[in-house]
Subunit: 351 residues, 2 copies
């Protein structure tokens, strides 16, 4: 039988999800407040049909952050497993507050915006954050995880609060900084027209994100206000310190800071080829809430990528076995950390 999904919101991300699902045999129904955009998504092959699907098993909510909660509540009420793609998670997850809602955030985008930029390969190699909580139904989590993994995405589990604090540092504040640098350069260019002709590759790279449509950012800034303000405070202090180093001509300290940044940049993780040597960690799961969230977010804290995850339920009750596939080299770290929390994991090499 064909699996059926719904996509609510058919912009770049929603339509790319539609295309990716349909490539993998799903029947996809979708809609958008902007009916022309939904029609275009249908025309481009991202949807089988425009409208509602009462039989959809899985709903992706791909609308602006401020509109997610309403759509997600509607979809969970209809009985589906529901996930979203919003850039801020804690307010959304708290507001929806349902075991079958799994907060999500694919860290993917495109220079080409809107439905016409949709691409079924948009998520290949991208990090896709999922934010399980103690309330999350492990089966809902495992289903969402399994589907987005078929898109080629690498899933990272974080608590909603961790997600918001981390993206403030690695996405929101860098974006606002790029816009600020661009606005300052543009102001100075009013005094001297040649300024922007001096903008070489480095400046172009740094300000590229500022060329995107700003429409989503006021929402993000409001929804993730505290984390963004905290990260901006840290950045302002760090730049003021940098200013003092330059002013004092402290070559050694400047060099140390730049060396540290270089080393970190060079070592940024890149989507790796699948290692041959994976291992399986099997974990008897007690009948207590929050195990899924605890285990998956623990792996993220340890820097361990969960390559695959499966939940084998016992026939008789809510307990069962959680199966994690990780790089063989990281099994001992994971096993140790789990054992320290009272779990009894067993490890098995694959192939």
């Amino acid at each position: 039988m064909t699996s059926r999904a719904e996509v609510v919101g058919t912009g770049l991300i929603g339509s790319s999800i539609g295309l990716a699902l349909r490539e993998r045999g799903w029947h996809v129904t979708g809609r958008d407040l902007d009916e022309a955009r939904a029609a275009r998504a249908h025309e481009l092959g991202a949807l089988d049909a425009v409208g509602h699907d009462p039989d959809a098993e899985l709903t992706f909510v791909a609308v602006p952050v401020s509109a997610i909660a309403v759509e997600a509540r509607r979809a969970v009420a209809a009985g589906a497993i529901v996930t979203d793609v919003g850039g801020v998670k804690a307010p959304v997850v708290t507001s929806v507050g349902h075991p079958r809602f799994v907060g999500g955030h694919p860290m993917a985008g495109s220079e080409q915006e809107g439905v016409d930029g949709a691409d079924p390969a948009l998520f290949t190699g991208a990090t896709w954050v999922l934010t399980p909580t103690v309330e999350t139904d492990p089966r809902a989590y495992a289903r969402v995880r399994s589907v987005v993994t078929t898109f080629g995405a690498d899933v990272v589990a974080l608590t909603p609060e961790q997600h918001d604090a981390l993206v403030a540092v690695v996405s929101h504040v860098p974006h606002l900084t790029a816009a600020t640098l661009m606005a300052l350069a543009s102001e100075r260019a009013e005094e001297h027209a040649a300024l922007l002709r001096l903008a070489a590759g480095g400046f172009r790279d740094m300000t590229r994100v500022a060329s995107g449509h700003p429409g989503i950012w006021p929402d993000i800034c409001v929804e993730n206000r505290d984390a963004i303000v905290a990260a901006l405070d840290t950045l302002v202090h760090a730049l003021a310190d940098m200013r003092d180093l330059v002013s004092e001509g402290d070559r050694a300290a400047l060099l140390r800071l730049l060396e540290r940044a270089r080393s970190a940049r060079v070592n940024l993780p890149t989507p790796a080829a699948r290692p041959e040597d994976l291992a399986e960690i099997r974990l008897p799961v007690p009948d207590r809430p929050g195990v899924l969230a605890e285990v998956t977010t623990l792996a993220s804290e340890l820097g361990v990528n969960i390559e695959d995850l499966e939940i084998a339920h016992s026939a008789e009750g809510p307990g069962g076995v959680l199966v994690l596939v990780v790089e063989a080299s990281s099994t001992e770290r994971v096993r140790g950390a789990l054992a320290a929390r009272g779990y009894r994991p067993s490890v098995r090499a694959l192939a």
Copy 2:
């Protein structure tokens, strides 16, 4: 007769200049404090010979900023026209203080560093700043300009002080900001290993420059201290304002700022194809110093690209005719501004 040049310093830029010169028929002699590096440049075809050339007409000084003045003084004393490629200009130009020294700064680089990254096409389409002053010999300027133009570079004339103020905004401070963002993210990653896995394309773009060798930056920060401190102060204030907008949830002001940045980023000038319709501005040059600097930096201030420049000297004295080739659409602006300064330009369309 073959033109002869010297290249002092055979790193990425010096060796790329050597390759570009030799492709155009020059005989190139070069040297480096690091003898192995000079030998490697020779091996890669960037030099005809390692050592000194007493008959060199033109010397490119491509050593670190703090070492330029000594090398440049040595080369002008030997009778050559001399230019450099340093990222800071006012201290260098002041320190050398010779009519045959023309400060220069090609805005080009490469992911691949050092002599092995050398590429004769490195400057194609790149902006190459030259910094004539009232002291500069117009013939020296025209010669340097003509040669780097054959490399495919677009020359922008600025005073040394203008150059330093503008690159602080468009290069030095963005670079220090990229390093600061990367260092902050790296610190936070010590608390949470997953952070850097959330670093999507935008963050990677913004921090790319931080992956370069930091060796040249302490010098640049010291030599261009005042302009960098001023630009960092401006940035810190702008980010503190941004922080307040986020804290107050001022969506409208955030959107305005982001829209302004977007518009500026989208309109960043890109190296354009040569327009068919160029025009020539002929300017009788009175016998007074600084005309060359005044005219060329005026064009830059007007945002006008000088496509070609020639100096036709009268046989009898220092006076003559300065010939500028500009886009036909900009001739009226240039002519008006020149007339306002007491020049008597004439304009002629080019076939």
